[in-house]
Amino acid sequence: MGKLKVYADRMSQPSRAVIIFCRISGIDFEEIKVDISKGQHLSPDFTEVNPLQKVPAIVHGSLKLSESHAILVYLASAFTGIADHWYPTELSRRSKINSVMDWHHSNLRNGAVNYAINTTLAPALGRQLNPKAASEAEKVLLSSLKTLEDIWLDGDGGFLCNGIQPSLADLSMVCELMQLEVLDERDRNRILSPYKKVLQWIENTRTATNPHFEEVHNILYKAKKKFEQQRARTAETGTSPSNKTGGYSKI
């Protein structure tokens, strides 16, 4: 079987989760950049790999696979020597991890990604900011954070479902929350600071996966600086950033 190919854009949360997982598990892989802001996910070559035109996607031998959770679960099962805590063999534990990963889609992801896009990222993706969509996304995001705090992070484990070590679900969801880094600092604090367990859990996951976590998130910290400068300029001149790139879709 050829080397694993991972098609990814590090500005995309699910892409980051897959790359971090490969690195921390010592999986030998080739990272192929698909830059969404340049519309590369719409190219015929990438459409061959993933007709849904989304990142991440992988190619492993004859298998082409999309959807980050499916990819993570596949990697944890197909490669040897992956620590059991990532995707526990024991059925009831594994089922809980499946459950939280299912929950993620319509809740945390739905809230976080639409909030980040509609408050901050849209212009960089050639789209308009949409305050109404932002306020709807905010509701979903806040209710998801509360559910994380009160239910999924219930217990002293430090990770989801009272785990004492991270699972695929922790990695996926912490990467999702990390995109809030691009928000205005005050806004980010307003949203996250009431959730002490969530904050601690982000730190736990970061620590458990460093140095890979920080390295793969570097691009986000750079984007964060850029957005900060933009906001400062806007505050000085009263104009909003112009919209240079064409209309590509979403992160």
Binding site: P51, L52, G61, S62, L63, L65, S66, E67, S68, H69, A70, I71, V73, Y74, S77, A78, L91, S92, S95, K96, N98, S99, M101, D102, W103, H105, S106, R109, N110, T147, I151
Partner: protein
């Protein structure tokens, strides 16, 4: 061990998928009705079973689980003698089943459920109709159906991913689509009409899971009658005064 308990409302698509799966595979279970239209999912007793207050949920011995996909995977793994096609042991095939199931959340489900809610179901639940939300949901629904038709149902098999026998993904997604039965004929034709493979696939899945499929979907046809009756009443100029108390939740 005690029989597995399935908490379900047959008006809920993911509940139907779990019930049909149990019946088709001869899993012994107790169905415990939790009626969303009576807000029973919000009762303290049910919150003990599932703090998320959503259906379906299961209890197997001491083990509690929610999220229908996680439940289906658990059942397929925990009970002996379930035919392999439902949740294939082969890693690549299993990974592809996961991929469709993951895709489902923010695509087909994200379109179908709010579309039906905001076009026909809301009045039955005592909620106002929201045409704008319906229009947004319709876009997602139609784009999801076209991806099913052109990508997921590509190939010669009758089922998703070119399968010759149904998997849990077929069951989950077909149950989701079945709620379009509640729409009026014109809407149904407009939305499903162009998607011939999708129609064929619904029939194949129904055939493969008869008679349980029809039996579990009966309630849907009853509600369809209620909606029809309401409509024709309104057509006669008879005002509907018997609106039930408003409900906060959704199917």
């Amino acid at each position: 061990m005690l029989k597995v308990k399935v908490y379900a409302d047959r008006m809920s698509q993911p509940s139907r998928a779990v019930l049909i799966f149990c019946k088709v595979n001869g899993i012994e279970f107790d169905e415990i009705k939790v009626e969303i239209s009576k807000r029973q999912q919000l009762s303290p007793e049910f919150a003990d079973i599932n703090p998320f207050k959503k259906l379906p949920a299961i209890v197997d011995g001491r083990f509690k689980l929610f999220e229908s996909h996680a439940i289906l995977i658990y059942l397929a793994s925990a009970f002996p003698g379930i035919p392999d096609h439902w949740y294939p042991a082969d890693l690549s095939r299993r990974a592809r089943v996961h991929s469709v199931l993951d895709w489902h959340h923010l695509n087909l489900r994200h379109g179908a459920a709010p579309f039906v809610l905001h076009t026909v179901l809301a009045p039955v639940l005592g909620l106002p109709l929201n045409p704008q939300a319906a229009a947004e949901a319709e876009k997602i629904l139609i784009s999801s159906l076209s991806k099913l038709e052109n990508i997921w149902l590509k190939g010669n098999g009758r089922y998703l991913l070119g399968g010759l026998r149904p998997s849990i993904a077929d069951l989950s997604l077909v149950c989701e689509i079945m709620q379009l039965e509640l729409l009026d004929e014109k809407d149904q034709e407009r939305i499903l009409g162009p998607h011939k493979k999708v129609q064929q696939w619904i029939e194949s899945t129904r055939d493969a899971t008869r008679p349980h499929f029809d039996e579990v979907h009966k309630v849907l046809y009853k509600v369809k009658e209620i909606i029809r009756a309401k409509k024709s009443n309104q057509g006669d100029g008879v005002m509907q005064s018997r609106t039930k108390t408003p409900l906060a939740s959704k199917m």
